[in-house]
């Protein structure tokens, strides 16, 4: 797949279409490995709590079962089972319905966790129907009832014990993924084999503890294909067994169970109080006390994104372009810890010459006003600007190109020590949306009296930040964590009140190395809200500075960004990322 998931227009499959496609799954899930016969010829009665069902299973053989739910009539289903040490995992759909069950049974403790899964019928937090193709899930914790034996008191339960971990997995189907758990309700994943680009995505997830080294994980690719992935994994032997269910970008049903081998790639710091083991998720106080079946908080930015026309965005910008917070009139939530403005450029004249042939002359009148013109142009343009000294004699400044259509801004690094410059040239509108920022990054050299301009050396794209996780405290009211997931994407999460990380989301981005430990990071929240965050990150001071550029229904805004960072941890993911052939060659060694 070479269309990024966030740009792919997934079909709105109807309930009827889904029903027809599920008919082929009546025989149970496919599997590249041998099916387990662990439950063949046996019966299991699984009793669950919290309003969950009693499931009575009889397994005549390795592919067929008979299920009775509560006091209902028995129904024949195709199934597939796999084992992971003393864990039996099996999955099946219920013919004639759009639902099924994924079941994890611990043969030693007798405890069982049941994921009821279904298509068609999900609703979002406001009660609006969700895409029928999005797999819903409800988790029930229970046990296997044995005649004459008292029910165990313990249950599997939610946990934060795997929060912060990152994995590489390779399934028996050959599918490779990177899966990062920076949160207790969400996860990031990178499809190494399914997708042409190394982009990270985020999905709502559950994390269930079976025992100290065995856990259950699931994710549903909400806002994308709606595919559900669920597996049990064992941290002692780094193996997984699980299931993938849903409709891919070709609307083909994928329903298979898999085995996989993995590797732990790192561990981020867990910031909850020590007494917090994550068995309860502390959402914020406005979250409803009880959620409907299948309900969970899900960030759905593409459902809420307003699609504006080019004309609308232009008119908004013409009437109301706000610069740098509008002298206090616009809250700068992202700039509570901004660096002081620098007047380093005041009085200087210079030219920035970029490798794409563009050159601009600059006259900096003072610390906040400048004149610029395209080289060869007679007319100078007056603009308000703001500048930060991000590192020693490394200046990062930004300004609008007033009067342009679409509205355009530049965020420019001036490296006076090396006479280098890098420009992020941004404009309202991308190939997809008029109210989404598009940009290009160009490298070049500075020309100024007293500077020797290099002809070959340039700032360069880098993956040095990839794998790192930093918290960013923008202001008293706003702290997030960035995981630099791949060389072309990053994810961000918001902390819950407990210090646990909550929902996260992801977007494509670019990283440029300016100096050792100093990077330009540019991210546009694509197909989300279209906002660009363009900052210089100094990993020595753990402080960033820069600009946010966005356009919406009320303003076009070139705002300020400034936050304090903390090192949260690192994932050793770089070895799995990059051009395919290089990776294949590494794997072969």
């Amino acid at each position: 797949m070479n269309v990024p998931m966030h740009r792919f227009s997934y079909t709105h499959l109807t309930e009827n279409q889904i029903g027809q496609k599920l008919a082929s799954a009546a025989t149970g899930p496919a599997c590249a490995s041998e099916y387990s016969n662990a439950v063949a010829g046996k019966s299991l009665k699984i009793v669950t709590g919290n309003g969950g069902p009693v499931l009575q299973y009889a397994f005549p053989d390795t592919r067929k079962l008979r299920l009775t739910v509560d006091s209902g009539s028995p129904v024949e289903c195709g199934y597939g089972a796999l084992t992971l040490k003393r864990i039996v995992f099996f999955s099946h759909l219920v013919p004639g319905t759009q639902k099924g069950y994924n079941v994890v049974v611990d043969l030693k403790t007798g405890l069982a966790t049941v994921f009821e899964i279904w298509f068609s019928g999900g609703k979002d937090g406001s009660g609006q129907p969700l895409d029928a193709r999005e797999v819903q899930r409800q988790i029930y914790y229970g046990y296997v009832e044995e005649a004459g034996k008292e029910a165990p008191k313990a249950r599997h339960h939610l946990t934060n014990r795997v929060e912060g971990k990152g994995f590489y997995w390779k399934q028996d189907s050959g599918i490779e993924t990177l899966e990062l758990y920076p949160s207790i309700v969400s996860s990031s994943f990178v499809e190494l084999t399914r997708h042409a680009d190394d982009l990270g995505y985020c999905s709502p997830s559950d994390f269930v503890m079976v025992d100290d080294n065995t856990f259950v994980y699931d994710r549903t690719e909400c806002e994308f294909s709606g595919i559900h992935t669920m597996y049990v994994f064992d941290l002692f032997v780094m193996k997984q067994v699980g299931v993938r269910l849903g409709f891919n970008e070709k609307d083909e049903l994928e329903y298979y169970i898999f085995r996989g081998d993995g590797e732990v790639l790192g561990q981020l710091a867990i910031l909850e109080p020590f007494r917090d083991q994550g068995d309860k998720i502390g959402f914020g106080p406005t979250m409803p006390q009880s959620l409907a079946k299948g309900g969970r908080p899900v960030y759905r930015p593409s459902r809420t994104l307003a699609h504006m026309t080019e004309e609308q965005v232009y008119e908004v910008g013409r009437k109301n372009t706000v610069l740098f917070g509008g002298n206090g009139s616009v809250p700068q939530m992202m700039a509570g810890h901004q660096l002081p403005f620098s007047d380093f450029l005041a009085g200087k004249e210079l030219t920035v010459r970029y490798d794409n042939g563009v050159a601009w002359n600059y006259r900096f009148l003072d610390g906040k006003e400048l004149r610029w013109r395209k080289e060869g142009e007679e007319q100078w343009h007056d603009e308000e600007y703001r500048a930060f000294e991000a590192d020693e004699s490394l200046i990062f400044f930004g300004h609008m190109h007033s009067g342009t259509r679409p509205a355009e801004s530049v965020q420019i690094v001036l490296d006076f020590a090396n006479a280098l410059t890098t420009c992020v040239n941004s404009k309202m509108g991308s190939a997809y949306l008029a109210n989404e920022v598009g940009y290009k990054i160009v490298f070049g050299a500075m020309e100024m009296e007293g500077l020797d301009s290099p002809r070959y050396i340039r700032h360069t794209f880098t993956d040095e930040l990839v794998g790192h996780a930093f918290s960013w405290n923008y202001s008293e009211a706003m702290t997030s964590m960035h995981v630099y997931t791949t060389p072309h994407s990053a994810s961000w999460s918001i902390y819950l009140d407990s210090g646990a990380l909550g929902m996260n989301w992801s977007a494509p981005c670019q990283y440029v190395k300016l100096r050792d430990g100093v990077y330009l990071f540019n991210l546009v929240e694509e197909a989300c809200n279209g906002v660009e965050t363009c900052v210089v990150i100094n990993t020595r001071t753990m402080h960033d500075c820069g600009f946010g550029f966005e356009g919406g229904e009320k303003t076009v805004n070139l705002g300020l960004v400034g936050a304090l960072a903390r090192n949260i941890g690192y994932y050793d993911v770089r070895k799995y990322l990059g051009p395919r052939k290089e990776r294949a060659a590494r794997s072969a060694k």
Partner: protein, 259 residues
């Protein structure tokens, strides 16, 4: 809901007011009867009449003070439950409010803008009515009420201690993410001082002028250890530039007591 008819608390004030009138009349009648029936009492009658009238006045004043305290408790209760329309009814028609550097004039103009407009949006997503978990818990530790000699005007100072929760409605992507996981709620403790003047019209006490100053704030998460002198940013725009803004700006109000 009509504040003068259906509101039992307001009815109680009217009842108090009526009782005060009764006490005044009864006091006068009793003093006359007392003077006429006791031998040798004629010479003491004027003093006794004065005592009785004084007592009547004092009782009336106490009843008025109690009515005003009840009125302020209602103000706090309505504020806590987000019943902003009911708050508005507590004001005199030409009432005024001073808050955070802004002056709001007129019950049905500026005061309505402040309570139904600004508070209605800031403290809850609905315009009016109690909202679960979006509330102002009101503790009223101390008060001083001074009823005028005519029984028609009064002034009062009320300290209050509030637990305030307000939605952060900032339009920003990360706030959307926070709101989706049940956050985006600002919570703090606030100690403040009300200075209020009242006027009685038609036997009912109404707020003539209300001034509120925050004295100290403490973030709910970090608790009392983080208490600091209050500084809430003053209004910077008047109505109509700010649709829920004040009629007039004053720049000293709302400032930290130490400033």
């Amino acid at each position: 809901m009509n504040g003068n008819v259906d509101n039992p608390s307001i009815d109680a004030q009217q009842a108090n007011s009526g009782r005060r009138s009764f006490l005044r009349k009864a006091g006068s009648a009793l003093s006359v009867l007392f003077a006429a029936s006791v031998p040798g009492a004629a010479s003491e009658a004027p003093r006794m009449r004065e005592d009785a009238e004084g007592l009547t006045l004092r009782v009336g004043t106490l009843e008025d003070a109690r009515a005003i305290q009840q009125l302020h408790r209602l103000y706090g209760e309505y504020l806590g439950k987000g019943m902003h329309e009911e708050i508005i009814k507590l004001f005199a028609e030409d009432g005024r409010v001073s808050l955070h550097g802004g002056l709001f004039y007129g019950r049905d103009k500026g005061i309505r803008r402040l309570y139904a407009g600004r508070f209605g949006h800031a403290l809850s997503e609905v315009q009016d009515g109690p909202v679960h978990l979006l509330q102002v818990d009101w503790i009223q530790p101390e008060d001083a009420v001074d009823v005028g000699p005519d029984g028609l005007t009064a002034t009062a100072r009320f300290h209050c201690l509030m637990r305030v929760a307000a939605r952060d409605t900032t339009k920003y992507p990360m706030m959307d993410l926070a709101r989706a996981q049940g956050q985006g709620l600002l919570q703090w403790w606030e100690h403040g001082l009300y200075e209020i003047s009242y006027v009685k019209a038609g036997g009912i006490w109404k707020i003539e002028a209300l001034s509120y100053r925050s004295q100290a704030l403490a973030d709910d998460m970090s608790g009392w250890s983080s208490v600091s002198p209050a500084y809430l940013p003053p209004f910077t725009k008047k109505f109509p530039e700010d649709p829920a803004g004040p009629d007039k700006l004053i720049f000293d109000a709302g400032a930290s007591p130490s400033s």
